[in-house]
């Protein structure tokens, strides 16, 4: 009975310490990953900011004047078509449905 009790306690202590140790290792890994993610997030934010600035409508208009000879033309909405695929069949229809008398 005594032996059993001691063995049980010993096993419990061993398991607990093993679990605790592995938890600590995991916590360390999570901390390192979080830190890496944090710096990557900062880097990503800066890159997105740069992208937003370079692809802003204002900049794109500047590039257009700089690199293209022709001006951009407006799109006639009635000429835009919609492609839909159903049962391997491709259907092309008008984007805007003209109402009566229009």
């Amino acid at each position: 009975m005594k032996k059993m009790a001691f063995i049980t306690i010993f096993i419990l202590i061993l398991v607990t310490s093993l679990v605790k140790n592995s938890t600590k290792e995991m916590e360390d890994k999570i901390f390192v990953l979080n830190e890496n993610i944090r710096s990557l997030k900062l880097e990503l934010g800066d890159i997105i900011l740069e992208f937003n600035y370079l692809s802003s409508p204002d900049k794109l208009t500047q590039y257009q004047y700089q690199f293209f000879e022709k001006n951009l033309t407006k799109i006639d909405i009635t000429r835009i078509k919609k492609i839909t695929e159903k049962n391997n069949l491709i259907k092309i229809s008008d984007l805007i449905k003209k109402s009566n008398g229009e």
């Binding site: 005594k2 419990l12 937003n52 802003s56 799109i75 009635t78 835009i80 805007i96 109402s99």
Partner: protein, 560 residues
């Protein structure tokens, strides 16, 4: 005898006691082990339960970390996630001359890192023994190099800077902050606490591309009509989301200028104007809502001129017929006809309707720069003038809200700049009778499509644009001036299923040689009359805007 007997009893008792003591000792020994075992067992069970509990916990998704970092300010993004404002950290590097050990060595090292600096000046500054900044907003490479020198006199200071990649585009919406990280206008002011505390970008309802295209047209026509300023609001009629809100002139937020010129006021929300005939739609809608009129109700023998107290109410269109239906009154923008509808309604009903759609009182909005409509006393003459949009003021934002309600089926909406991500936020409370919107939308469409209408320039193919014009003379001390006008055009599209309302306002537009009404005179020669009414100015601007933003709205925000 009795003594002897007593002794025997005592001995017997002693023996018994001795036996019992020995038995008790054994018990204590056994119980102690059992007790220790029990305590360990309990501790182990508690510990195991705790471990199991921690293991079964799922990370909470909605926890928003609270940042206590000094000078922290969250970013602001548009509805597509594009940055409108971003906080970036920058490092300033300075030198504390008191801590310099080897001045020569330091200067040589600095020369290697920053070869273009004036080292005579730096040397003089070091001699003064006062801290000075060597390089502000230093690059990451140079920062690493300078810190590797390991000189104690080199001090670095982390600072946060607000960057506005869209420059002027959202200046009136976003607003400014002061040097102490306090919002002083726009979203920066009204959401100051939220921006400082929550580590998540604030998403607005605005669309950068649409905002750019609308602003581009306002800037273009500012030079055509030489107006003092202009404003435009594009709003979803079903949920009140503002897709674009421009007020021109605007300013570059990156420059952090102090704006004191009143012309830079946010005309879309802060400007309070008499907007003229755009109010006639409200008079007609109120009549339809009360069931007092129908679109084909006739008003006969309408005068061309009406006296009310000291004031005279005239028709703008001298050729307007004397007998008109309600629909014709609105299409031809009849003043006297609108007065008659207003009189049929009476003060209480018209007032209650205007209150219901949020025209008369200050609107509760996402930014603090909101105008307060000028209060007035209702009377018979006031009722007459209000019926055709004079003697009553409001903001373009409230005008957009009013039109959204009367065209969306009669549902209450609240204009908003903050994206709420609520799908069920649409069409909640009906405040206008069913069917009113359908009748109003048909008339608004006819104003744009028919010859008698006043908004032909906005008839852009494919978008079913409907709308109402308003030309109002500006008030001066003691009355009105015909030299300064406020021209407004409220458009709704597509009228078969209203989705967007757009208000375009031009402040004091002038006539332009490009916009001349040409006609044949009696001698058969062509003559030209330049006009600067809303039909010739704000309608043209709105038409050009819809032409450009229409394809984006139709494809990007298309509902299947």
């Amino acid at each position: 005898m009795s003594d002897k007997k007593n002794n025997v009893i005592l001995e017997e008792y002693e023996n018994e006691f001795s036996y019992k003591k020995s038995k008790t000792n054994l018990n204590i020994e056994f119980n102690r082990i059992a007790f220790i075992f029990f305590v360990f067992l309990v501790i182990s069970i508690i510990y195991s339960i705790q471990l199991l509990h921690l293991g079964s916990l799922k990370p909470e998704k909605n926890i928003k970390p609270v940042i206590t970092k000094k000078n922290y300010r969250a970013d602001i993004v548009d509805r597509n996630g594009n940055y409108l404002v971003k906080t970036v950290s920058s490092i300033d590097v300075g030198i504390n001359p008191i801590e310099v050990i080897d001045k020569k060595k330091l200067l040589i090292n600095l020369q290697l890192i920053f070869p273009n600096k004036n080292y005579t000046n730096i040397s003089k500054k070091i001699k003064k023994n006062k801290f000075f900044y060597l390089e502000k907003k230093i690059s990451a490479d140079n920062y690493e190099k300078i810190m590797l020198l390991g000189d104690k006199s080199i001090k670095s200071e982390e600072k946060l800077t607000r960057i506005y990649p869209q420059k002027n585009l959202f200046s009136h919406i976003i607003g400014q902050i002061d040097d102490d990280n306090q919002g002083i206008s726009g979203i920066e002011k009204s959401f100051d606490e939220r921006l400082k505390k929550i580590n998540e970008p604030l998403q607005l309802t605005v669309d950068t591309d649409i905002q750019f295209l609308i602003r581009e047209q306002l800037v273009k026509f500012q030079s055509t009509f030489r107006s003092k300023g202009s404003a435009a609001i594009l709003m979803n009629v079903n949920n009140g989301e503002i897709i674009s809100m421009v007020s021109y002139p605007d300013f570059d937020l990156n420059k952090r200028d102090t704006i004191s010129d009143l012309n830079f006021v946010n005309r879309a929300t802060k400007g309070v104007y008499e907007l003229g005939s755009v109010f006639k739609t409200f008079t007609v809608a109120a009549g339809l809502d009360e069931g007092l009129i129908e679109t084909d109700t006739e008003f006969l023998n309408l005068e061309k001129r009406l006296k009310c107290g000291k004031n005279t109410i005239n028709e703008y269109d001298k050729k307007i017929p004397s007998d008109l239906t309600v629909e014709q009154i609105l299409i031809r923008s009849g003043n006297i006809g609108s007065v008659r509808i207003g009189q049929k309604l009476g003060i209480d009903k018209l007032k209650s309707f205007l209150e219901k759609i949020g025209i008369l009182k200050k609107i509760d909005f996402d930014i603090d720069e909101v105008g307060d409509p000028i209060s007035f006393r209702w009377g018979k003459c006031k009722l007459a003038t209000i019926s055709f949009g004079h003697g009553i003021t409001t903001t373009p934002l409230q005008l957009a809200k009013g039109y959204a309600i009367i065209t969306n089926g009669g549902f209450e909406i609240e204009p908003s700049l903050i994206k709420k991500h609520l799908e069920n936020n649409q069409k909640q409370k009906r405040i206008i009778k069913e069917g009113v919107s359908k009748k109003i939308n048909l008339i608004l469409r006819k104003i744009v499509t028919t010859k008698e209408g006043t908004a032909e320039f906005a008839n852009i193919e494919g978008y079913e644009v409907g709308g109402k014009t308003g030309t109002a003379e500006k008030t001066i001390v003691g009355g009105y001036t015909n030299k300064a006008k406020i021209n407004t055009f409220v458009s709704v599209f597509p009228t078969s299923k209203p989705t967007y309302v757009m208000v375009v306002l031009l402040d004091e537009p002038k006539t332009s040689p490009d916009y001349i009404y040409k006609y044949k005179n009696k001698e058969g020669y062509y003559k030209g009359t330049p006009f600067n009414t809303a039909g010739w100015t704000s309608v043209e601007v709105a038409g050009k805007i819809i032409e450009r933003i229409g394809p984006i709205l139709a494809t990007k925000y298309m509902e299947n």
